[in-house]
Symmetry: C2
């Protein structure tokens, strides 16, 4: 039997038990899990050291090594995050709506766990702990498949977290990681329709595409962000510069960072040079259309290709384009964007309203950085990822995104006439 099938079957059985646990039981398990991460930090650090060593020998890039590495501080932050979840309100059992029907049946729609959540993700071991804790908080069993680079770290974390959860009274099988690094197990996991209630991929565009193309289980797409800042002709030039630089440079490797800058034709000669200079001095590589290149504001700007407009760089690189106005900006964003986070800088009320209404994205901003699209910034308390699809959840996904609902009908013998 494939390992993913075995783990998902056990998770399904665990999910049925989990669904009947109380908020207090699950919060106690979270505290035990947080405690165990601190308590077993040597075991986890040793596993991570083995991953780091193997990754270095494979010649892994520094940026990836940084994502992979666990430090005592990072491990402490992981334990802290698990502990903080225990203090958040429990979405499970919330009565979403309800009424007495004309026939006398008391009907209510209540929030219940999804059941079995699967996650496929890449190098960061903190995702293992985050995902396990968020699922336990919401009464879900979880089957994890992290990147092979972090395999030892992930398995050590899973072992520590699962033992703590089971020790605190939760059912065996409620937290599991696929041990095999064989890619066949990923395909198996994606195909377990009827066992896996939702699959959340977290990682680069390649991983997301593979899951979308191959999964038979319901999927929530996350994270690919080709985000724009559009500087309208009425924009405050100083504010535009501040927002563009923040959206591009504050943390370029994340999905809500901006990748593309659009500027109105009427003002680009005045507004753009200071922005380009600041981007250049922040180390940003620029590609642009002919008008922008013609400005001669900075030394090296390569021509932007059709592919550039559609690319999420995830690094200090930005494409720049002059547009004729609001209509072209909105059309360009809806065409090339990934419907993640989009911002306009404007002092014009109508332009602001039209941008809010007509741009099709999970988050649309006026006069604010795209970087605010985040569960923490939005006050959701915790985040399992940022959905870029329209079904079930859109934008930062908090605890409620890990729940479903169920209708309860309490009658006294009613039949349908």
């Amino acid at each position: 039997m494939p390992e993913a099938l075995r783990l998902a079957t056990a998770a399904r059985d665990a999910a049925r038990v989990l669904a009947a646990t109380s908020t207090a039981q699950r919060n106690r398990a979270l505290l035990a899990m947080a405690h165990a991460v601190s308590d077993k930090s040597d075991e986890i650090m040793a596993a991570n050291a083995a991953d780091m060593e193997a990754a270095r020998q494979r010649g892994t890039a520094e940026s990836l090594l940084d994502r992979l590495e666990l430090t005592p501080q990072r491990l402490k932050a992981i334990a802290e995050a698990v502990k903080e979840l225990a203090a958040l309100p429990d979405p499970i059992g919330e009565v979403v709506e309800g009424k007495r029907l004309p026939n006398g049946i008391w009907l209510s729609q209540v929030r219940v766990p999804l059941g079995v959540v699967a996650m496929i993700y890449e190098a960061r071991p903190n995702v293992t702990a985050d995902a396990a804790a968020l699922c336990i908080k919401t009464g879900n069993a979880v089957v994890l498949r992290g990147g092979s680079l972090a395999i030892n770290s992930n398995l050590a974390l899973t072992r520590v977290l699962a033992n703590a959860a089971v020790g605190a009274g939760l059912p065996a099988g409620c937290i599991a990681s696929v041990e095999s690094t064989d890619y066949a197990e990923v395909n198996e996991l994606m195909g377990l329709h009827g066992l896996v209630d939702v699959l959340i991929p977290r990682g680069g565009a390649g991983l997301i595409k593979s899951v979308v193309d191959n999964a038979k289980v319901p999927v929530i797409e996350t994270g690919v962000g080709n985000c724009h800042v559009y500087v309208h002709e009425s924009a405050d030039a100083e504010m535009a510069k501040r927002i563009v630089v923040n959206a591009k440079c504050q943390r370029p490797g994340v999905c809500n960072a901006a990748e593309s800058l659009l500027v109105d034709e009427a003002v680009y000669e005045r507004v753009l040079p200071p922005i380009l200079k600041e981007l250049e001095s922040a180390g940003v590589t620029l590609v642009a259309d002919e008008k922008v290149r013609g400005l001669g504001a900075v030394l090296r700007i390569q021509p932007a290709t059709e592919e550039d407009w559609a690319t999420e760089y995830l690094e200090l690189k930005m494409s720049v384009k002059v547009v004729t106005g609001l209509d072209e900006a909105i059309a360009h964003i809806n065409e090339y964007g990934t419907h993640h986070s989009e911002a306009i800088v404007t002092e014009d009320y109508d332009a602001a309203m039209r941008f809010l209404n007509e741009v099709d994205a999970a988050a649309v901003y006026v006069n604010a950085s795209t970087r605010f699209t985040d569960g923490g910034e939005f006050g959701l308390g915790a985040e399992i990822g940022i959905s870029t699809q329209k079904l079930h959840a859109r934008g930062p996904m908090g605890l409620a995104a890990l729940t479903s609902t169920k209708w309860l009908g309490m009658g006294s013998g009613q039949i349908r006439e």
Copy 2:
């Protein structure tokens, strides 16, 4: 270019325009659509007559012919249903939640259309009108692919509805049906990731499975219902009989009809015979386990096979099983059921609460028929189908199930520190 791709591309463009229409515009279009169905009834009836003639020549079963046939009364009901939608509240633009963030950004989450909805369905032409009207109400463009048996009826209805919608000012391409009956177009439609925001299959288990296995676009599974009535040892025998007979016989061809009857061992000898006799006299074919057959209550009961416990008959047939008690009943339902609608008949408070809490289904009833799982019965105003998955929507799907959300952030120059 495959027809489905062409229609979905046009629908995507139409959806962008639709998203910016007002409630009043869309309601006016619905009234025009309802009027057009009455006005062009000759054209629609002639197309349906052609479908009926072709179906009869192919030797189509009477029950299918009945589903296919449009009568003046049915066409009037279709127009009436479209008209009634215009009077329902518009979910689009509802502010789901919102607040001013600590940094001063006004953040609100608002309800928006999904974008492009695709539906694949079988013989009933009324689904064409229902789906088109529900999508227009919620600002979505729709691409339909009905069964080949109803092709002329569906195309005539689509033509009439689309012309009326466009005549009332909605964008061309907002309502379309795939004209080709080539199955390749179904596969094409299921694969249009990035163009189709959600695909809703409506039909038998075979259709649903094919969509789940092959779709690359997000899917909402609907309608397969292997529903149970469980008679607990404490049940009122008369109430149990009434509910079982209603759940099985009131309309056996629909998804919320019961397919399987479970009875506690402690009472089956007393409670079951009158139920079996009533089912038999209602024309129900029975299959059962050995204990039930040993009762000799009715003449012909075939042995139930393992497959029977998992089968949605959708006709006057029912499987019957004796269980040792609540634990076995819940385990059996969670194992063999399709998580649609499940009912317990009991006078015991603890049994009622455990059944509500532990049965994993879209709708769970105490002392009421499974037949109540319905958008109309639940007071949702309209129904696009009944979801049996846990993501996005579960149970009867009203207008809100055809919406997504979008976060709007209104700032004054905020950047992330």
